[in-house]
Amino acid sequence: MNREEIRSEVLRALHRVAPEAEPATIRADLAFRDQLDLDSMDFLNFVTALHERLGVSIPEADYPRLATLDTAVAYLLAKGAAAGG
């Protein structure tokens, strides 16, 4: 998957936990939790959705690297995110 595909998967996973969020208004360099008022349950569901759609295993210690759109895309790209689910 290329950067653009991963980016849209991340946005799709976000949409599942914050359906009211407009993808166009999400700042790529700000933490999702603060922008979208996510709690730890939302964030867990977001990470689980990424795992299910991209087939990557994400250890809990790496969760902070998924905090913003930019860092999440970079992390998943480095992890070699495979085909979508």
């Binding site: 349950m41 867990l44 990470v47 295993s57 250890p59």
Partner: protein, 383 residues
């Protein structure tokens, strides 16, 4: 119509999922009711056979109204004088009369259908009822009014904004009643979670990604177990007396996206392992936010637990949800300086605050509860 919250007054029947003659067992979903907390699935309290359905789709009825008669196992066809178990929660006030006002010769028509028929100039005599006992429902009238069949109209749920203001009003009523009637006392204690979080990290490494735990699952379990030691904080204050809960049904406060709050029950929280509690909490949160909770989840909580630390508050002092007698609030889990064996160390600490009803318990008992929560959280593997 069960009371699905302290201040609920009425609900609208959206859908019957069982028909007369259907066999039902305790816990089955028999109907869906629309309230300010969303579409709530109504569960059956007893095993039996649906005998009669008394409220038609689209009807809004007050809390306490009998929705249907269920014939118990082994009973004959229920005589009107001796109805079987009733599908409502312990209903305050008198049950509504079972017999509909219109009978003999006339078709039964729901008030909503009658109103609609007037508006659309539909002759009710020409409409064939599809409701219980041939009752004419709003849908039937709509079908008759619009021969070019549009998609069957679902009983319309109120728009989101109406729901939000209705929920606001319900919260306002419940909280005002609580502050008016309940003499609250507040106790708080700082709990060292260093051991609990270390255990959680190790446990999550072993667990499947979809099965990982959040600290809140441990907090809920610890409160539920502690209530076993101090049962006078688990239950209800009704008519001047304390009624202990039969089990710990932990109402967990869930903030809804876009505003509002609901605190549905995690049933039997004291006896479930943390993995099960976590799975149920995820499911409950998702259903609370999509507006599809079950009646028992709204009527059963014996205590409320709230976790307000997510947005960074150190401590919260909750308002008890009547007729419950206690609420435990957790603040943010943060590294704080703490004296450990004569030295100051950075430890992961959470502030737990108990709000309790002084009519039902005294501060000493409340203190024992918080002490038990603290002690149980020091051995997370035993939770």
């Amino acid at each position: 119509m069960p009371a699905l919250g302290a201040e609920m007054e009425a609900g609208t029947l959206v859908e019957w999922l069982k028909r007369p003659g259907d066999t039902v067992t305790r816990g089955d979903i028999i109907a869906v009711v629309d309230t300010e907390k969303g579409a709530i699935e109504i569960e059956v309290f007893e095993d039996g056979v649906v005998d009669r359905v008394l409220v038609a789709r689209g009807e809004k009825v007050p809390v306490g109204t009998v929705l249907a008669h269920i014939r118990g196992v082994g009973e004959g066809v229920a005589a009107p004088a001796a109805p079987g178990p009733i599908v409502t929660a312990a209903a305050p006030g008198p049950a509504a009369p079972a017999a509909p006002p219109e009978r003999a010769g006339r078709a039964r028509v729901s008030p909503l259908a009658r109103k609609l028929a007037e508006e659309r100039h539909v002759d009710l005599a020409a409409v064939r009822g599809s409701g219980p006992q041939g009752a004419i429902t709003r849908e039937d009238v709509e079908r008759a009014a619009a021969p070019v069949t549009p998609a069957p109209a679902a009983v319309s749920a109120p728009p989101a904004r109406d729901r939000q203001s209705a929920m606001r009003a319900a919260i306002a009523a419940a909280m005002a009643r609580s502050k008016r009637e309940i003499p609250h006392y507040y106790l708080s204690t700082d709990i060292d979670l260093t051991a609990a979080l270390a255990w959680l990290r190790a446990e999550n490494e072993k667990r499947d990604m979809t099965d990982r735990l959040l600290p809140v699952a441990l907090l809920i379990k610890a409160v539920a177990r502690a209530l076993g030691e101090v049962p006078d904080l688990n239950g209800f204050w009704i008519d001047g007396a304390f009624h202990p809960g039969a089990a710990v049904h932990a109402g967990f406060a869930i903030a809804l996206r876009g505003g509002g709050l609901v605190a549905p029950a995690l049933h039997d929280a004291a006896t479930k392992d943390v993995g099960t509690l976590m799975r149920e909490l995820k499911d409950l949160t998702a259903r609370a936010r999509s507006g599809s909770l079950r009646s028992s989840e709204l009527s059963d909580p014996t205590i409320t637990i709230t976790n307000l630390g997510e947005r960074g508050v150190d401590a919260a002092f909750g308002i008890i949800y009547p007729p419950q007698v206690a609420l435990v609030a957790f603040g943010r889990i943060a590294d704080r300086p703490r004296a450990v064996s004569g030295r100051v160390e950075a430890r992961a600490v959470v502030t737990a605050t108990l709000s309790a009803d002084h009519r039902a318990s005294d501060g000493h008992r409340g203190g024992l509860l918080l002490a038990a929560v603290d002690r149980l959280l020091q051995t997370p593997e035993a939770l």
